[in-house]
């Protein structure tokens, strides 16, 4: 068995398995690093940068960066936390996030992160962009709320490995694109999986909604990440 890797996060001495990313190793050591585009079991892409940490003084995305021996990682320090907060605020103003009307409210990871960081108002002006809502046989695609994390692109495929969700356009015009023919064949379970894997309310299963009452939703009482922090 290869030796464990020693590293520190905010001065706390930690051990990692070889090949683990900083995010995975931190989690295993009871340290929460927020993620948005990353989802357990999916290949990380490191696109949202919410998981950024400072390693030996350099900024790195902890969901893609493997741990190496002797890394000195800064996580919950003001400069890193302020950087993450700014990303959340940019995401909030970049789309149209009307939480009171959104059925993902209370189970939304973007909202949960904003709660965790106690964002009372974003420091940036709201853009109110014009976006479409697309309807498919079993679900809706709400572009107003999509944060282009690509979780659905990576997680949802047909049985023979074809992608149902892809990305189109570039830069600020980048959008999730759905293959209509393949989407029409999606099973109920697959649609539910797509909705659950979406961190925001961009993929919504039709004919169900607001199933959990206020007070019973995922982030009503405890901040996102507290289950990781309580482990150690």
């Amino acid at each position: 068995m290869p030796d464990k890797i020693k590293f520190t996060i905010d001065g706390k001495e930690c051990l990692a398995e070889p090949g683990q990313t900083i995010y995975e190793a931190a989690r295993a050591n009871g340290v929460y690093i927020p993620v948005l585009c990353h989802y357990e079991g999916l290949k990380p892409v490191g696109s949202c940068r919410i998981c950024s940490v400072r390693v030996n003084g350099r900024w790195m995305a902890s969901c893609t960066q493997p741990v190496t021996e002797g890394m000195v990682i800064e996580n919950a320090v003001p400069e890193v936390e302020e950087f993450r907060k700014a990303i959340i605020e940019m995401l909030l103003v970049e789309g149209n996030h009307f939480c009171p009307t959104c059925e993902k409210s209370g189970n939304c990871e973007l909202q949960a992160l904003a709660y965790r960081y106690q964002i009372m108002v974003p420091q940036f002006p709201y853009l109110f962009p014009k976006r479409e809502i697309e309807a498919f046989p079993g679900f809706l695609l709400e572009h107003n709320r999509c944060i282009q994390c690509q979780r659905c692109v990576r997680a949802i495929q047909t049985r023979d490995g074809q992608k149902i969700f892809t990305m189109k356009n570039r830069s600020k015009d980048v959008r999730v694109n759905v293959d209509r023919k393949l989407a029409a064949k999606m099973s109920e379970d697959q649609i539910q999986k797509a909705m659950d894997i979406c961190p925001v309310g961009a993929i919504l299963k039709k004919e169900v909604g607001f199933r959990l009452p206020i007070g019973k939703r995922k982030y009503d009482h405890r901040p996102i990440g507290s289950e990781i922090e309580e482990k150690k």
């Binding site: 009307f98 939480c99 009307t101 409210s105 209370g106 709660y115 106690q118 009372m120 108002v121 009482h221």
Partner: protein
Amino acid sequence: MSKPVIATASLAGCFGCHMSFLDIDERILELVELVEFDKSPIDDLKKFTRPVDIGLIEGGCCNVENVEVLRYFRKNCRILVSVGECAVMGGLPAMRNTIPLKECLEEAYLNSLTVAPEDRLIPNDEELPLLLDRVYPCHEIVRIDYFLPGCPPSADLIWEALTALIQGRPMKLDYPLIKYD
């Protein structure tokens, strides 16, 4: 020392934040001891009668009257607080922000299925405040000192914020207090 004076207003809102304010229940007796009310829908005072310490604003700005009232508040209040999603980010009224105003009016007063053919008319009376091109969060019109998100913000959040401001201490914002819905 005289009591701190507070004032409230509802701009492009639904009065839900004022209702939530009243949800402080029996603490309202304590509030009467703590503050005095000036211009507010609660006491129906239309004009400020003295300088105000804390102004609570519900709702964003969707027409010129909202802007006028908001500026009037800024002029007369030492501390101005945006209360609720509409004041903070435009809220539900701001859902029209991605649709041109002309289209909104045509849909509501000309093309909607519920408009009787003989009633097809876009209101245009000088008594009516002009609509703005879009709905603006309050802090895009005047300087706002504090923000309380929520639709509505819970009575506990409003109470905590108000008592903290009155007592000049930092707000104690427990996790369940900050909600956007």
